[in-house]
Symmetry: D2
Subunit: 337 residues, 4 copies
Amino acid sequence: MLIQLKEDISAQQKSGIVEKITGAGLHIKEVKTQLNSYLVCIGDEELDIRAIGNMEGVGDIHHVTDNYKLVSRKWKVKDTRIDLGDDVVISREEFAIMAGPCAIEGEDQIRNTVDHLVKNNIRIMRGGVFKPRSSPYSFRGVGIEGLKIFSKICREQGIKVITEVMHVGQIDDMLDHVDIFQVGARNSQNFNLLDALGSVDKPVLLKRGMSGTIDELLYSAEYVFSGGNEKIILCERGIRTHEKAYRNTLDLNAVPILKDKTHLPVIVDPSHGLGLRRYIEPMGLAAVMAGADGVITEVHEHPEKALSDGQQTLNFIEAEQYYKHLRETWKLKISLK
Amino acid sequence: MLIQLKEDISAQQKSGIVEKITGAGLHIKEVKTQLNSYLVCIGDEELDIRAIGNMEGVGDIHHVTDNYKLVSRKWKVKDTRIDLGDDVVISREEFAIMAGPCAIEGEDQIRNTVDHLVKNNIRIMRGGVFKPRSSPYSFRGVGIEGLKIFSKICREQGIKVITEVMHVGQIDDMLDHVDIFQVGARNSQNFNLLDALGSVDKPVLLKRGMSGTIDELLYSAEYVFSGGNEKIILCERGIRTHEKAYRNTLDLNAVPILKDKTHLPVIVDPSHGLGLRRYIEPMGLAAVMAGADGVITEVHEHPEKALSDGQQTLNFIEAEQYYKHLRETWKLKISLK
Amino acid sequence: MLIQLKEDISAQQKSGIVEKITGAGLHIKEVKTQLNSYLVCIGDEELDIRAIGNMEGVGDIHHVTDNYKLVSRKWKVKDTRIDLGDDVVISREEFAIMAGPCAIEGEDQIRNTVDHLVKNNIRIMRGGVFKPRSSPYSFRGVGIEGLKIFSKICREQGIKVITEVMHVGQIDDMLDHVDIFQVGARNSQNFNLLDALGSVDKPVLLKRGMSGTIDELLYSAEYVFSGGNEKIILCERGIRTHEKAYRNTLDLNAVPILKDKTHLPVIVDPSHGLGLRRYIEPMGLAAVMAGADGVITEVHEHPEKALSDGQQTLNFIEAEQYYKHLRETWKLKISLK
Amino acid sequence: MLIQLKEDISAQQKSGIVEKITGAGLHIKEVKTQLNSYLVCIGDEELDIRAIGNMEGVGDIHHVTDNYKLVSRKWKVKDTRIDLGDDVVISREEFAIMAGPCAIEGEDQIRNTVDHLVKNNIRIMRGGVFKPRSSPYSFRGVGIEGLKIFSKICREQGIKVITEVMHVGQIDDMLDHVDIFQVGARNSQNFNLLDALGSVDKPVLLKRGMSGTIDELLYSAEYVFSGGNEKIILCERGIRTHEKAYRNTLDLNAVPILKDKTHLPVIVDPSHGLGLRRYIEPMGLAAVMAGADGVITEVHEHPEKALSDGQQTLNFIEAEQYYKHLRETWKLKISLK
């Protein structure tokens, strides 16, 4: 059961509600986000939902049969809209394109990419400054100082920044310089990180784990939401299977299923899926028709010189056609609804 | 190495070529299909390809580095076009829609479905008469007599028939009543069946195995082709993964990869992928943008009464919108190329 | 529900039982094997099991909640014992070792291997004469004539023959020359083949499919049993997973689970699991402790010269130590029970 | 290339070596562990390994072709022996049994378990105080205060403590109260945590990720080692596959492969593999024969009352027999070598 509290609820009203519910044997987790206050009620006891719905201070009340509650479509039918400011919005009404290099390399690279994005009316730039790498001897990114430059150049041009956060200790330093915190596939069940991102008022993009289930992705989102942050974007990026013809199996099936199960926006990363540049466009366009709200794609002025992931990165010319085709496909998609 | 022989090659010319190649330590498999004659040369020996290319009787010669040869895009760049007669064609220039029930149940069901297809300008009807079932106690289909009725009704209306063949012993009886032999996922490496379908002059649709790789699907196609039958259609229908939110992971990644690797048409089965009706349309449309040449979909007048797979079957009203949307998406797709 | 009929049941008694059951809305499949007669009753209707149990002609009656019936441990608690004659038995009381080359190559190879087996008191020789190969251009085995020689030499020395059957059309020719029909992983859901092997009075060894589930393996066994053949051996041989450090993931978990679910013997193939010789012994010994009733292993006098699978084949010296260690481990295993 | 430095190497000698290597175009990572000093040399350049080997201050030098270096068996053939003090050792010469509840619940539970372990001569107790849970609403463990009690009671009886650390921020508080830090499957690629555990002088047990490869597990160990901590234990605990008959596929294949690739001890967790109590013993015994150096198993006085994972936990009576059988199997295993 999920109770949305009224903004002006009194302490006395709230304790009355809490008492009634715990009296019936349920546990309560109080959740206060940037936008709302909730009581998440956990347990099997049957309660007269209408009786509680009629209590003073209750805004709305829902019986949510899913084990995740706050992220469920069962209580919030309307799609969540995430406003990044400056007219940059991730929502069902627009199609979000995030693009940029795998790893931030330096000022020139950032400026070139920003110019390319501005020219193509892309408002969100991706780029890793902390890179999770299987081997401890690989390049691990330019770090926080690189992020400051990345962020500064983007802000001059009205571009929003999405970059990966790898552990709790980085959040504070990054906070002023990012617009979206990205949680990578390897951290998709790093519950301490998810908890900590719950207390931050910046959107969080959660990638599905390498062998993560759709339900686990929703539970991870529930961690962030129940920690206090409603601004969550989900991202399908490919799962591990027996097939060896490509790097990961980009699982577009997850897109319409997630759109059914949750009110959160869902985007797709066609670069990390197959791991090959030539398949980015067909899979990106397929993602649109599957129902994605956006894509995140690796682009680089000279992919062949990129410090990482060049083989799955579009150059600027390829990318321009790709954006154009994405937008035409999106136009068709919304006309079919 | 693959040699396409001229139609008017003399026996003497051929034996000269064979001698030269086997003399160099290569093995030869002679392949004679409905359309052409080939020598498939297997082995590691280096040969002067031009010297052989200049011999009398050689139509064309190619060095094919793939382990599959005849189905490889490396020697035949042009997409294969499969003509079913009566202006029904499976090719890159059109978008093939195959639709019909999981299992043929009886005459009324066939007539209703045919009427529905004719109305929607669908030219190929699917419907199983031999059903592979995990349990020996499940309904196994109406059999050959049902196929005869199925075929008769379809032919009256200009509809082509695709149905599953399960073993070699069924081929002869089925031959006059099918337009496309379907090989199911469980038989995707039934090499005797594939061999036998090589000697039949009817198109064969090969479904990818449940944990089949993309390469294994191409090898299975090579069996049919090297057996003498060039008319092969490949079909992605979902693979087994750890995810339990749906039945199979429909692997749309396979579509652009297959289109790169082979000249054969590639279609998608969005019914068996997720196993749920509501996801057929988004995944079918996504398949179009991924580059599929067609789809095969389960439709039934009353899915709730179907003898099998009702939960993944569209009713006629849903199907009509689906066909319309597929065609609009296809129109966009070809305009982007 | 499963009814075992008395041997001397009269036609009238049987039709009385059938009438009672079908009258209650259940479907019946009559099964007559080499050893017994059964009525398998399928359906949800509730019946007074005791009332039927008291009818004349009923030997035994069981409520079996599994969807597979005849192979279930729920009605037959005692382990099935398969007698191959000449004191060669596959059962819970002994540990069966089957060994031999991947492919039969010729008379010398057979004689060498038989001598090796006799010396080590191994009574069952494996060796493929029909080889399922991904590529149509690979060596497909010496065929039926090779089987005849294989069988003749083995019989001179009291060795039993296990070899793979690939399709229904081969059964009759093979029948006199094999002691166990092996069904390979690729044919594990070739239902026509399973059906046909049900009407043969020779044991059948069923390999689990490449992505087959434990339940599917049991269903496949149910096909053979309900076709009339009780003599079934199950074999775990590795499944496909994301891991690339070896060929297949030999799933020893399947062993104790199968031993719980079915009364049939379960053996393990540690050669096809990892696909590497050095891991055969540790995994073979592990299989014993996991509860396997036997192993099937590839051995060859000169693995480096074997026509196929040499890298996963033991030479005779390695094999001798392996057999010895298997037997010592088995001795410990039964002492722990 | 991996260089082990002499303990008494002078600064000048070291800089001479470094200069020579970097001069040849290689990168160097200096590693100083509790026990030794190393130079890990990364890059493709060819170097005269003997010339460097002859330089003053070089203890040993190896060409390591694996991408992981310090954990590779290629430079250190001898098995690593981890001494926990008080005669508790994890090594190839003994068989380590770690046992205890999934989650620490309270003082009585700890005392009961410790008594049980002492009685059975088990020297290492497991028990989670920080529990990673898919859902934010599940019990997350008794935390650091619980760990202090857990540790105090164990130390009174000479029992060593292994417990899971979930993020960098917990390490300092836990340090004085644990004997082995456990890194769970969900954190197997939490590189910041691995880095941080490199600077701690306490053994670290690394569980394989849910879809982690064997190589990734070795890379994760390389993080800890190159961070400065040589005391690493690897643990197989089951991977995700398509099979639904059990929770995870315990991959015993990983055991002999890991023992080949690395000098680190390898243990197996048969509780989390299948997730069912009755399969712990057969899979634990199988693990011994596969070559494991130990097992970690969930035991609880009353599994049916355990706060988590009761269904995969042995009670004390079952556990006693299990320990006895493990030890008998181990005795056989070492006698076979």
